[in-house]
């Protein structure tokens, strides 16, 4: 069903909150996962069962503190679980689809409320913004003119998939006139339950198209730059030169889930004599060791599933563009299998399946 949530007094946030409240009040879900405003203006996801608390909901903070897919995984992984509605951005839904295929989340009893995404700021930038102007509706400025040049997160500037895929409810903010109404697509049965009546359909318009075109162009420029850097013999070592092997990129990656990860074991706590051997052989050996091995291993394990959310880049204390590398390499590794992360839950992960007749060139007889 296509319908429009009416906006009163130009208060689009209140309209969105009202819509979310109706999901709880009409019993469509038992609880909602949605960002709530915490004290001090920060915004963090919460699992909300009391509709009254949705007055503090901020479904669209222009910040992505954490990729919500991991959180949905924790809420859905095994029964008994509640019927949950999760308010997610496009990259979070893509990560969720990957996690379902990795058996780390379930779509059972889950209602995905997907929002058109106009991009997000880093935690640090957003904290400064709300400190400077606590009352300003920063998210609204983004949607009022999504095509404007802004210091968004690196991943967002190059995100060519800002529209939610695989969502049960799609809130089409890019087509919305926030003073008047917000177009929403949802299943008929649910629409009737919420007492909504079908309205005019909001076609995907020029704004979304232009936004995708702009971001695709940025992405291609970024890929070209990264590939140029990696084509020089020193490029790889240069790129990861400042890595302190803190593993923050791995911890914050929504897809990198292995609890038995080799890099969480003492495998790289080498014997003192081993470091000495390396130092003697090469004249010097980098410390901490094994940083390139860490990144190459992760690229190799995860790049086919990389959804481009960029949490790794945000998490890096050395400001290494980890996410750019993952996306650039991922584009190529995904292409081998024509795999698109987050596209479909039916599409098997490339490493879990095979065809008898394929990749003959990899093992030349």
């Amino acid at each position: 069903m296509q319908t429009t949530i009416a906006v009163e007094n130009s208060d689009a946030l209140a309209a969105l909150r009202g819509f979310l409240k109706s999901l709880l009040e009409k019993g469509a879900v038992d609880a909602l996962m949605v960002p709530l405003r915490a004290r001090g203006g920060a915004v963090m996801p919460a699992l909300v069962s009391d509709p009254a608390l949705l007055d503090e909901a901020d479904p669209l903070p222009p910040v992505l503190a954490i990729n919500g897919a991991r959180l949905v995984g924790a809420l859905s992984i095994r029964p008994p679980r509640g019927r949950i509605g999760a308010v997610l951005r496009a990259c979070e839904i893509r990560a969720l689809i990957e996690l379902v295929k990795l058996q780390q989340a379930s779509l059972e009893d889950l209602l995905i409320i997907g929002l058109d995404c106009a991009g997000t700021y880093t935690q640090t930038d957003y904290a400064k913004m709300i400190q400077a102007a606590p009352e300003a509706e920063h998210w609204r400025k983004l949607y009022a003119d999504p095509l404007a040049e802004r210091p968004l997160r690196d991943a967002c500037r190059m995100c060519e998939r800002p529209l939610p895929e695989n969502a049960n409810i799609v809130v089409q903010l890019l087509e919305a006139d926030l003073d008047v109404g917000i177009p929403v697509t949802l299943p008929d049965e649910l629409g009737e339950r919420l007492g909504l009546t079908p309205g005019a359909s909001a076609r995907r318009g020029e704004v979304a198209e232009k936004l995708i075109a702009d971001r695709t162009a940025t992405r291609d420029a970024v890929f070209a730059e990264i590939r140029q850097q990696l084509s020089s013999p020193e490029g790889l070592a240069e790129l990861f030169a400042t890595c302190i092997r803190c593993h923050n990129c791995m911890v914050n990656c929504p897809i990198c889930y292995c609890k038995t990860c080799l890099f969480r074991t003492p495998a790289f706590d080498h014997e003192p004599a081993q470091y000495m051997t390396w130092a003697m052989r090469k004249g010097a050996t980098r410390l901490p060791s094994d940083t390139l091995l860490f990144h190459l291993t992760r690229l190799n394990h995860m790049s086919t599933s990389c959804v481009g959310c960029g949490m790794c880049t945000d998490a890096c204390p050395s400001e290494i563009p980890v996410g750019r590398v993952f996306r650039a390499v991922g584009e190529k590794t995904q292409a081998i299998f024509e795999y698109v992360p987050g596209r479909s839950v039916e599409e098997p992960l490339p490493v879990t399946t095979f065809r008898e007749e394929e990749l003959a060139e990899v093992a030349i007889p």
């Binding site: 070592a237 091995l293 093992a363």
Partner: protein
């Protein structure tokens, strides 16, 4: 070191059922091949975690060979098909990161192909000699 006296080091991960047995056959048949290979036996080519390959290459191995059963012959039915996908991803990753993907070889060698094993090592040793030493062996910033 000039290329003429450069002796490449090959780390070979061989599956227990086919390629390792093929290597054994090469030995018992007294087939001559270059002594440049260090063999590690695994139960299946599908058990080769890419991290083993990356560790060997970053630590300075000049080449890595993964040997498994021919398609359709895997002792565990599908391990070699999965290995092939992993190697495809690994080679693409190496290529994208500006590393030499040609140092990694995947070959299907059955238990009866002792000659083929010897030929593969001969061929790989020659190819690696032509490539020269793995620069990672002397790279301190790895």
């Amino acid at each position: 070191m000039s290329n003429s006296d450069f002796e490449p080091r090959i780390v070979a991960f061989l599956c227990n059922w086919c390629t390792y047995t093929g290597a054994d056959l090469a030995g018992t048949s007294r087939i001559q091949y270059p002594p440049n290979v260090r063999i590690i036996r695994l139960m299946c080519s599908g058990a080769v975690d890419p991290v083993y390959v990356l560790k060997a290459l970053l630590d300075g191995a000049d080449g890595v060979l993964i040997g498994g059963c021919h398609p359709g012959d895997c002792h565990y039915q599908t391990g070699n098909y999965k290995a092939r996908r992993r190697v495809a991803i690994l080679k693409e990753t190496l290529r994208q990161m500006g590393l030499e993907e040609d140092r990694l070889w995947l070959r299907w060698i059955s238990a009866s192909e002792g000659q083929r094993f010897a030929d593969t090592i001969t061929e790989m040793t020659a190819a690696l000699k032509a490539m020269g030493p793995n620069p990672m062996r002397r790279e301190w910033a790895v």
